[in-house]
Symmetry: C2
């Protein structure tokens, strides 16, 4: 099999800067007969994918021996203008026709949402067509059903783009770290909230202004709930936990808190204490088998690699028994980065299709989830109070009554603006929740504000 | 094919926290018949690999359907004590016998050095045995020869561990980013020098003391030349460039400078200017096809993700046209992390072997290397001078005479300790080298010290 020599020739003649490699398994495939893609959804990602395939087709053909062609495209509104790389005659409003078409070899789903994406993907898998999807919501709620269908049909279901966009994390966890025991995964997996928190931290911008700016820049939706309340991150946390620990975790398993209660002054205090505030998705393997998984704003030590992840970037920090600490950093969203991740999967699926094999599919058991009440952490609590003598003692007593030990406390602001911030020693979540409930009933307390948990601090520093 | 269900059962019964997936292609393989590994070299990495295989074999078998067994081990000194997981009767002093043994399916080379590793690997590949290697020196000098042999035989040659240890970077570049056009790769790929520079930067430690500390901790060899002069990083730069750009780059192509001329006071000045000093391996695709590749101490803006990589950690920053900026961070060395990377490759090779396919192999053309003289960058130059009136003007004139424009200059220290530091505007390397030559002949100059190039600064800030 001297195929690579011919590839080399092609590269040399073309003067192309294509990358190496890729003749997966079996026999070489003549670039003349492309793998035909059925595209479900043609918004930002779909258009970017069409553009990438058009632009890179020569490089791809030379480096992988594969041609890719977008054969059919299903859209909601067939009259809308698409990328020039989408042939108008390939566009239809009927997605089932794309899935079932005999001239579609691989299905790419970038429409989002649970239905009809779920039915369409199941239908594709059951008819033996590999599927590439970027649909976090669907994966975080129907993992087993989808992967059982893929396994039964012996075809690929690939989803690199569903978590952390362009960052090649899924493949790393699934393949490069085969045989490795992952102990925890912590990620900044929502660019919108990271942009907002970065603005609040670096420029002292208020939450409201930072959100408005994120909306203006297109980082945040008009209704920002899914981002700022942590729902988007929760779906990604579920997927990360599922891959890392081999147990199916659903978004509904994830204890989820958002960032809307955090003020710029909280963040200023936290920075003075040596931490940065980040909305983290955290998944841990505990007690030899159970999975703890949560999304919440966290205090990350300033010298932790996650603390330096700024703006709309994503990063996922992975700890494994043998490999130690690792971090993957990059663009978590955006048309082009996401399309690039989809394209990587697509090349993989196309190869496997041509070589007659398929990728790595299995159906995990449902995870045993650790209730959030069992969490032990250090907590930061911000409390708006009436600025009167004795209030600090009153509030502190609520912590003491619930056996939550205080590491430091300080008053920030004066008069109507006064609030107290507390950093606890390691404490149990249930006791901290009881403390918060106690504070709510306390006359001197106007409002309980931010609740942050310390994450990523080295052992022995508590 | 309902094999995954059975796998799930196995996981559930064992209560194991093994990760998902992996039934690569074709038919399932009964765990009873293990893939037999021939290990060349059994030092730190070899022993760690034996331990990992022993520890994780149940998890591996459950999650991948594969058993792995170390069948034969070649060592230099067969009388030395090995891991308890290496059977004494498997150990031999004759590596050729391991490669040619009929009970060896896959060869793992962790002996290092060019010979006899090269001959042994070629022999294994030519006899149809896949090879996993961690040998950067060999790959950075004989890439084409090795990959031609692999391609001719249709077997895998995998090398994730050769660059950035446990960080799953090679697979990411090769597979996940298939179809992506990489424009640059910049990495902290030598943990020893990063440890030294971090100590100098954070504690003001002198170069000599920081090196001694690194040696004491086992991060640096007794003869630290390969690390501190950049040779180790140059081999890795060559491999990274080869993978990223699909053109064979050799270590001898890499313009290489080390860190031994840098003082703690240089670093203090650099930090004040808003940068961190890092030894970087830089590879760039320029002019539609040529490759610029170099290793040198660099000034990295403090808010650049590479600036926050501390201690002995490694990180590689990749820029692609569609994916944008990405960074991979983790342990670059150490027995366990390296062994984990080898194990990931080994699982891959074993799968491909069993499924009758093989991985992604091609033979790149030789790279067209851009001469260092063509580089355009900002430069930091530190010059020890006699502390006399007029010396600054004299020295500055040398820059001007060579048409190198100065962005800022300052005197650091007094009397015998006086030195001048210059930060230039973007300038051409050839002119800067002429400036340095001019400074060497200048009476007022006692010594030209550190030369740093600014890397990673956003466009338009020069």
């Amino acid at each position: 099999m001297n195929l690579p020599h011919r590839f080399t020739g092609a590269l040399a003649v073309g003067g192309s800067v294509g990358r190496m490699s890729v003749s997966h398994g079996a026999a070489p495939v003549a670039p003349k007969k492309p793998v035909r893609v059925g595209l479900l959804g043609c918004g930002t990602v779909g258009n970017a994918l069409a553009e990438l395939i058009a632009k890179d087709s020569a490089v791809l053909a030379a480096s992988t021996g594969l041609g890719l062609e977008i054969a059919r495209v299903a859209v909601r509104d067939a009259t809308k203008t698409r990328s020039v790389h989408v042939r108008p005659e390939s566009v239809t409003g009927d997605p089932e026709s794309v899935v079932s078409a005999s001239d579609v070899d691989v299905v790419v789903e970038v429409m989002g949402g649970v239905e009809p994406a779920r039915s369409l993907i199941l239908s594709a898998l059951r008819s033996g067509k590999p599927v590439v999807t970027a649909n976090k919501e669907l994966l975080a709620s129907h993992w087993s059903e989808l992967f059982r269908a893929a396994a039964d049909s012996g075809v690929d279901l690939l989803h690199e783009a569903a978590v952390a966009g362009a960052i090649p994390l899924v493949r790393a966890l699934r393949e490069s770290l085969a045989g490795e025991t992952i102990t925890s995964v912590m990620g900044i997996v929502n660019g919108t909230t990271n942009y907002i928190l970065t603005k609040m931290s670096e420029a002292g911008t208020s939450y409201e202004d930072a959100l408005a700016e994120a909306q203006h820049l297109g980082y945040a939706e008009t209704d920002p709930t899914a981002d700022v309340e942590g729902h988007d991150a929760a779906a990604k946390a579920a997927i990360l936990a599922t891959i890392a620990f081999g147990q199916e975790v659903r978004a509904s398993d994830v204890h989820t808190e958002g960032i809307s209660a955090i003020s710029a002054s909280d963040i200023a205090v936290v920075r003075r204490l040596g931490y940065e505030v980040k909305l983290l998705a955290v998944a841990e393997s505990v007690d030899g088998g159970r999975v703890a998984v949560r999304v919440h704003p966290a205090m990350v030590p300033l010298d932790h690699p996650l603390a330096g992840v700024r703006g709309s970037f994503n990063a996922v920090f992975v700890v494994g028994e043998a490999v130690g600490e690792m971090m993957f950093y990059g663009r978590g969203a955006g048309g082009m980065p996401t399309a690039a991740a989809v394209l990587g999967d697509l090349v993989d699926a196309a190869h496997n299709l041509r070589s007659g094999g398929y990728g790595r599919v299995s159906v995990p058991i449902r995870a045993h989830i650790v209730p959030i009440d069992e969490l032990v952490a250090q907590y930061f609590v911000s409390v708006d109070v009436a600025d009167k003598p004795g209030v600090l003692a009153t509030v502190a007593r609520v912590f003491g009554d619930n056996q939550v030990s205080i590491r430091s406390m300080e008053q920030v602001g004066l008069g109507d603006e006064a609030h107290l911030v507390f950093l606890t020693h390691t404490a149990n979540e249930a006791r901290v929740q009881a403390t918060l409930a106690g504070l709510e009933t306390c006359d001197a307390v106007k409002r309980v504000g931010a609740l942050l948990r310390v994450v990523g601090e080295p052992e022995g520093t508590r």
